[in-house]
Symmetry: C2
């Protein structure tokens, strides 16, 4: 680790670039009541689910079209004022803090499905459509969009942060499921980054460059996505293990054998305790794998049998099936609420979720050492993980007013990241860099790759107005 670990959760330094009166007036004239400088609105747009206190933008604009976004960005470019795109505010690493002031572009009212092409398994949506809304709107077609980061995030936000989540082990991440984007560049010009063709070799892959760029290269206003036929059969199962290690080794073997499992989630005993209490369940309070299988009736049965055998070899017990949609929904709702459930284990605390991802063969080592450190620290924690991808979240519940605890949590996070890099993994599987992980990115990328990213940033955003102060320093 070259960079000094960030002091944490020290608030970032704030260097506002004020919006001139002319810009205020231009935005107010165009947007009327959809331009707001009210304290509560600004406050709500200046934070996400990160450990930081809010840093409000100077104003918020609620846009309803690409043209409107382009108008705002042209104003921002003319006055060298930052713009920060906002979806539902579910980001975890401080992406939304207005550390250099500027205007928040709220895209949540861009909530229209623009073009559904069911016969091509594609859909184009405005950036503010959420994943749950999309799946509701396309239900009658027999298709679905699988990427599920837990939160009911907007698809623009999911693209901007390269989201993944529980289904990624089978369906990939946003990187794999965005066909094309409409992006408003830093000069206020909208561009289209691809077509609806399933593949293309036409020039630089701008789509993949904007996916995961966290608003620092442009504002995503429309997203064209791949859809999938709803599987003929879906089956979910839970299985309890004598140890985390046994659950992880089961996962490793499932992946190595090529079982096309659709979801493979680990919850530790602490997470289960929270879930049981919050969702009124009675799951055994022991390490648990929550799995889902998609396919034909026969295919699902075949996958399940293979997995059941592997699990038994590792001491897995209590293999319970949930085949009805209601049972499955109950389990996945509990899983998705585990974050809020766990927060209640230590009322008034803040949560710092780590997010390393390593090659699958290194997963047991990565988790075991992290648990040993967490136990030694005495700070309450719980674990959920998309373990089929080698990605897990060890989340600390800490008292933000206790400087010692806060520093200890960051020290533990640094150790986890160092370990992940040593094991040929990454500092973030899916939460992104935001504000919090900029130092980690420096270590992970190395100077030459970081310099390439900085050159790209300067080339596409010469005034540094697109979500400045995030991802990388320029």
């Amino acid at each position: 680790m070259n960079a000094a670990p960030p002091e944490h959760p020290a608030q970032p330094r704030i260097e506002p670039r004020p919006m001139p009166a002319a810009m205020h007036e231009a935005l107010r004239a165009r947007f009327g009541e959809r331009f707001s400088t009210a304290a509560t609105v600004r406050e709500q747009h200046g934070r996400g689910e990160s450990v930081y206190d809010a840093v409000p933008p100077e104003a918020v604009v609620f846009c309803t079209s690409t043209d409107e976004v382009a108008f705002v960005v042209r104003q921002a470019a003319a006055h060298a004022v930052p713009v920060i795109p906002f979806g539902v505010g579910s980001s975890l690493e401080g992406h939304l803090l207005a550390v250099q002031g500027g205007v928040s572009i709220d895209l949540s009212r861009m909530d229209r499905v623009v073009a559904l092409n069911a016969e091509d398994l594609t859909v184009t949506v405005q950036a503010g459509v959420t994943r749950e809304q999309l799946n509701r709107e396309i239900r009658s077609t027999g298709l679905f969009f699988p990427i599920d980061p837990g939160a009911n995030a907007t698809l623009g936000g999911m693209a901007a942060t390269r989201a993944s989540g529980t289904n990624a082990v089978r369906y990939g991440t946003m990187k794999d499921n965005v066909l094309a984007l409409t992006v408003v560049g830093a000069d206020g010009e909208p561009m289209r980054t691809g077509t609806r063709a399933k593949k293309s070799a036409a020039g630089y892959d701008l789509t993949r460059l904007f996916v995961g760029s966290e608003g620092t290269l442009g504002v995503i206003t429309e997203v064209t996505l791949r859809l999938y036929p709803l599987p003929e059969a879906v089956s979910a199962a839970i299985c309890t293990f004598p140890s985390i290690d046994a659950a992880v080794r089961t996962t490793i073997q499932i992946i190595q054998m090529g079982v096309p499992i659709a979801r493979c989630e680990l919850l530790d005993a602490n997470a289960i305790r929270g879930v049981n209490r919050h969702s009124k369940l009675t799951l055994p309070e022991a390490p648990l794998l929550l799995m889902e299988f998609h396919g034909s009736e026969a295919g699902v049965r075949e996958q399940a049998e293979a997995v059941q055998q592997i699990a038994q070899e590792h001491g897995g017990t209590e293999f319970q099936w949930a085949t009805t949609p209601e049972e499955r929904t109950r389990l996945w709702t509990a899983r998705h609420q585990s974050y809020f459930a766990a927060l209640q284990l230590r009322p008034g605390c803040r949560c710092q979720a780590t997010d390393t991802c390593v090659p699958i063969s290194r997963l047991a080592e990565s988790i075991n050492e992290s648990i040993a450190e967490a136990e030694a620290s005495g700070i309450p924690y719980w674990i959920v993980g998309h373990v089929g991808d080698g990605n897990f979240h060890l989340s600390y519940l800490f008292d933000a007013d206790d400087a010692r605890e806060a520093a200890e949590v960051e020290r533990l996070n640094v150790q986890m990241v160092r370990r992940a890099l040593r094991l040929e993994g990454t500092c973030t599987g899916e939460h992104g860099i935001g504000l919090h992980k900029m130092g980690y990115l420096v270590d992970e990328a190395g100077p030459a790759a970081l310099a390439a990213m900085q050159r790209i940033k300067r080339a596409l955003d010469p005034q540094n107005i697109m979500n400045p102060g995030k991802v990388l320093a320029v």
Copy 2:
């Protein structure tokens, strides 16, 4: 179409940037006999399988390590001399022509598997390893690398051109299967663009930016790839159809139903004629789908039954199975040799392969109209297509000495591209832009996206020394 169609196959304008004596000496001193200015060596490195005559580089360097590539690029940067990476020379759109002179970096001797991590389903290879070599070297692990563009290309070249081919319908393209790259940037500094983790949200996706950049942003020297467990069962089948349209409609329905078919290739009667003659086969000379299924024994059976039923509904007959490896190899070898087989249909001719890709629902329209135009032109052609992806190659056999024929072929190509763009598709599914499709990229990307690509090019290669004059003009 805004851009005037390129005159074709008019040779490109050549504007050499000569290599100073100091650079000649530095390269000769370091590389000895691996530095060559021999006419035959230069000639061989100045062309691929494109319609153009060779435009030889000023010299060729055979590198064996990333450090050596870095040395060459630092020399090139110091003297503002172009570098053109070279694998096996199988590119189709003029990628290798030294239109601004410079040095060809031959990577074929970088043919070492650097790290095989079978338990993680990953492998890192030097850029000169070919796909067939890789699959030979990893055979004992029970894993394979599926991407198969036909030619036994290098994995560096396949990454650089975002190759795909016959297995892409199931396994995706190079975009989906490269985890990380080592790239020597235009300043001669090597960088690593990712880790071995299966997913990451750490910063800009440099991996995907270099994949498909055709040597214009840097020289790829190492490639980390995803591998897959060899399927438990593999089965191939051929089925003959009363018309191209029936074969295409069968394909569309297979994809829409979500059958996880591994390969779905169309050959028209002309292609079959060539294949029969060249490979001593007796296939019915009618439109044919060549399909492959991967999975468990039961899964493959299930897929095959579903496909057989769809095919029958569209008048498919002569469903023939090839379940032994020998039979399958015979069929796929014939398919892969269809290019050379077809060339023999009109001895002494040149071949211009088109490469449009459209959303699957538009495929029938796209192929049917193209065939009507081809028939009207009277120029011999044949069709093979990765139709499961909406991608097909209508290839013209023309007399390069006949200016009228050559111009007619390009006119037909332009019409196909226009049609593909109108149908929301792309001018190139997999062959890339190279020299030939630069005008088409202008039309497809539009001014704002093209400007973004140009900014990226200028930022990462300010002296325009990385394969200059390809992909886009700066």
